[in-house]
C-alpha cells in the first residue's frame, strides 16, 4: 500500500538491542548489590531505654548489642559517648522544621537553633519504639566510625538518633559534612541567652551585671557528643529564678547559676543545611554537565550519544507540551528536570541527603519557576496583555477573575512545593521507619527498607518529571494564545484584530494545582 507505515514497535529498535543484556545484567547486579549491602553492614541494635548513638558515635557506657553479619568489622567506639544524651526512652523524633537541625530545646543547657520550641514536653513521634533512633542509624552500620559510612543515605537516616531532646526528626546534612561545618561555626562567635540568673546565695542577679560578659563555656553538642570550648557573650538574661535546666558557671569570679541557658552560634545561620547541600549537588550536576559536553564532535562518542539522547528526550517532551515556541524553554525545564531528579536520588546515596527533603529547597525551586512564568508572561504578552490574562475572558467579570487567577498562581507555588517536598521527605521517612521496625523486630538482620529504595527511585523520577511537566504547562498557559498562535511579538502591539478572543482557550479552568 502506498504510504503505509508499519507500526513502530519498541522491539524493532535494533540500535539499542545490543544493550539489553548488559542493562539487564546491570540492573540485576545493582539489586543484588543493594540487597547484599543492606545485609552485610553491621547493624547496631540497642535495647530500649539506652541512650542512643549517632553514626560514628556509639552509645556511651553500654555495649551495644551487635548483630553483625559476616564480612564487616565493627570498630570500637571511636568517640566518647555523648555526655548529655541520656534518656531512658531512647530517642524520640519529631518531624517538623526539617530545616532546623536543633529544633526543640529542653536540651542540655546549650542548644542552638532558631526555632526552638521550649516547653515541648511531650514525647513526640511514636511511629517507632525507643529502639528507633539507634536502629535508624544502626541500620546503616553507622557505629563503625566515621569512615564507614556504609549505610544507605547514612547522613539522613543516621540523624535518627538524637536523644530525647526533641531533635527534629529532620533529614540532616550528612555527618561527614556536618562535623567540619560544626567545627567551623563553633569556632566563631557565640551568644548566650538565659531565662534567668541566680547567684550563689540564691538571689537573682541583675541582668545588667551580666550582659556583655564573655566567659569560657563547654558546649556539649548533641549530635556528635563532643564538647567544644566556646566563648559566648551574654546577650540577654531574663528574670526567672528556676527552670528546667540550670547551669552553674563562674563569671568574672562569681558563681552564677544560669537558668535555662541557650547558646546560639550566629555562624550556624550562615550554613543552612538545605542551601549547603543543594549548592553542592548543583555543583556536582554542573561539573558533570560541563565534563560531558566538552569536545562535542560530529561523530559522537558514547558519552556524547548519551547526552544527545537525554537532550533529545527533553526537547521532545517540552515540544509536545508547549508547542512551536518551545525552544527557549528547554534549558530551564531540562535543568529543572535533571537537577531535581539528581537531588531526589541523592538521598539514596550513602553519605548524602536529598536537598529536596528540606522544604526550603523545594519552595525555592517552586518560587523560581512561578516567578519565571510570570516574567515570561510579561515578556510575551506585554504588560497589558499580562494583566488582561488575569482579568479573564468576559472583561466585566474581571473583579471575580483577578483574585481567582492570582490565588491560583500562588496556589501553584504551594502545590509544587508540597508535592515535591512531601513525596521526597515522605519516602525518606518511610525508609527510616522501616529500618527502625526491622531493627526492633529482627534485630536489624532483615533489610526491610530495601524494596523501598526501588520505589524511592521511581518516586524521585516521577516527581522530577511532574515538576517539569507542570512547569511546561504553566508556561504554555501563560504564553499560548488562541489557535495555538504564540505571542512572540515581543511587545505590546499584538498586531491582530481579534484581541478580544485573545486568551480564550486559556481561560478554561486552569489547573491551579
Amino acid at each position: 500500500m502506498i504510504g503505509y507505515q508499519p507500526m513502530k514497535l519498541s522491539g524493532n529498535r535494533t540500535t539499542l538491542n545490543r544493550f539489553r543484556i548488559p542493562v539487564r545484567l546491570g540492573v540485576t547486579a545493582a539489586c543484588a548489590g543493594l540487597a547484599a549491602a543492606c545485609w552485610l553492614l553491621p547493624v547496631q541494635a540497642q535495647e530500649p531505654g539506652m541512650p542512643t548513638a549517632q553514626p560514628g558515635h556509639p552509645a556511651p557506657a553500654q555495649a551495644p548489642i551487635q548483630n553483625e553479619a559476616a564480612g564487616s568489622t565493627h570498630q570500637g567506639p571511636s568517640e566518647p559517648g555523648p555526655g548529655g544524651q541520656g534518656s531512658p526512652e531512647g530517642s524520640e523524633h519529631e518531624v517538623g522544621k526539617p530545616t532546623d537541625p536543633h529544633a526543640g530545646t529542653t536540651g542540655h543547657g546549650a542548644e542552638t537553633g532558631h526555632g526552638t520550641q521550649p516547653g515541648h514536653g511531650t514525647q513526640p513521634g511514636q511511629g517507632a519504639q525507643p529502639g528507633h533512633g539507634a536502629a535508624a542509624e544502626g541500620g546503616h552500620g553507622a557505629a563503625a566510625g566515621h569512615g564507614k559510612e556504609g549505610g544507605h543515605g547514612d547522613g539522613e537516616h543516621g540523624e535518627g538518633g538524637h536523644g530525647k531532646e526533641e531533635e527534629a526528626f529532620s533529614i540532616h546534612l550528612p555527618t561527614w559534612l556536618y562535623g567540619p561545618l560544626k567545627q567551623l561555626w563553633y569556632s566563631g562567635p557565640a551568644e548566650l541567652t538565659a531565662a534567668g540568673a541566680v547567684n550563689a546565695a540564691g538571689q537573682p542577679v541583675d541582668a545588667s551585671q551580666l550582659v556583655g560578659k564573655q566567659f569560657e563555656y563547654e558546649y556539649h553538642d548533641h549530635h556528635s557528643g563532643k564538647v567544644y570550648k566556646v566563648r559566648p557573650e551574654i546577650k540577654q538574661i531574663g528574670n526567672r529564678a528556676t527552670g528546667a535546666k540550670t547551669e552553674t558557671l563562674t563569671i568574672d569570679g562569681q558563681q552564677v547559676t544560669l537558668v535555662e541557658p541557650v547558646v546560639k552560634f550566629p555562624l550556624e545561620g550562615a550554613f543552612p543545611e538545605g542551601i549547603v547541600i543543594s549548592l553542592l549537588t548543583a555543583l556536582g550536576v554542573l561539573l558533570t554537565g560541563i565534563l560531558l559536553t566538552r569536545n562535542l564532535q560530529r561523530v559522537p562518542t558514547r558519552a556524547q550519544t548519551l547526552v544527545e539522547m537525554i537532550y533529545g528526550a527533553l526537547d521532545g517532551f517540552v515540544h509536545g507540551l508547549i508547542g512551536p515556541s518551545y525552544k527557549r524553554y528547554v534549558p530551564l525545564v531540562g535543568t529543572a528536570f535533571i537537577y531535581i531528579f539528581i537531588m531526589n536520588i541523592a538521598g539514596l546515596i550513602p553519605g548524602w541527603m536529598s536537598p529536596t527533603a528540606n522544604i526550603n529547597v523545594a519552595a525555592g525551586l517552586a518560587l523560581v519557576i512561578v516567578a519565571y512564568v510570570q516574567i515570561e508572561g510579561i515578556r510575551v504578552n506585554g504588560f497589558v496583555g499580562y494583566i488582561r490574562h488575569f482579568m479573564g475572558e468576559p472583561a466585566w467579570l474581571a473583579p471575580l477573575n483577578v483574585p481567582i487567577h492570582v490565588i491560583g498562581e500562588l496556589a501553584r507555588v504551594l502545590s509544587l512545593t508540597i508535592r515535591l517536598f512531601g513525596n521526597i521527605f515522605g519516602e525518606d521517612v518511610v525508609i527510616v521507619i522501616l529500618i527502625a521496625l526491622a531493627a526492633k523486630f529482627t534485630g536489624g538482620l532483615f533489610p526491610a527498607q530495601a524494596p523501598m529504595y526501588l520505589l524511592a527511585i521511581f518516586t524521585s523520577f516521577v516527581q522530577a518529571m511532574v515538576f517539569s511537566i507542570l512547569t511546561c504547562v504553566y508556561i504554555a498557559l501563560m504564553t499560548v494564545h488562541d489557535d495555538g498562535h504564540h505571542g512572540e511579538h515581543g511587545g505590546h502591539g499584538h498586531g491582530h484584530d481579534d484581541d478580544h478572543g485573545h486568551l480564550q482557550d486559556v481561560h478554561a479552568p486552569a489547573p491551579a494545582v
Partner: protein, 105 residues
C-alpha cells in the same frame, strides 16, 4: 481517662485525625487514581500508537491527585511530630498516677 485533666477529648481528636485524615484522603485518592488509570488503559486499548502520549498524560494526572494525598500526609506528620501526642507509656502513667497528672502535650 480520669487523670488527663480534661485534655482527653482534644488528644482523642488529634490522634483520630492523624490516622483517619490520611486514610480518608488516601482512599479517595486511590479511587480517583483508579479511574484515571482505567481511562488511560481504555485509551491505549483503542489506539496503541498513542500509548506514549496517553501514558504521559496519565502520569501527570496521577501526580496531581497524589499531591492531595500528600497534603493530608503532611498534616498527619505535623500532628504526630510537631504538635506531638503522648506516648502509650505516658498515657499509662497518667492513668495510673495520682490525680493531677498532666496529660502531656
Amino acid at each position: 481517662m480520669q487523670n488527663l485533666n480534661g485534655l482527653s477529648g482534644y488528644l482523642i481528636m488529634l490522634a483520630a485525625s492523624a490516622g483517619f485524615g490520611l486514610a480518608i484522603a488516601a482512599g479517595f485518592a486511590a479511587m480517583a487514581q483508579g479511574r484515571i488509570g482505567s481511562a488511560a488503559l481504555e485509551g491505549i486499548a483503542r489506539q496503541p500508537e498513542a500509548a506514549g502520549r496517553i501514558q504521559t498524560a496519565m502520569i501527570i494526572a496521577l501526580a496531581l491527585v497524589e499531591s492531595l494525598a500528600i497534603y493530608a500526609l503532611l498534616v498527619s506528620l505535623i500532628i504526630l511530630f510537631v504538635i506531638g501526642l503522648p506516648t502509650g507509656a505516658e498515657v499509662m502513667r497518667a492513668l495510673t498516677a495520682g490525680a493531677g497528672a498532666p496529660a502531656g502535650g
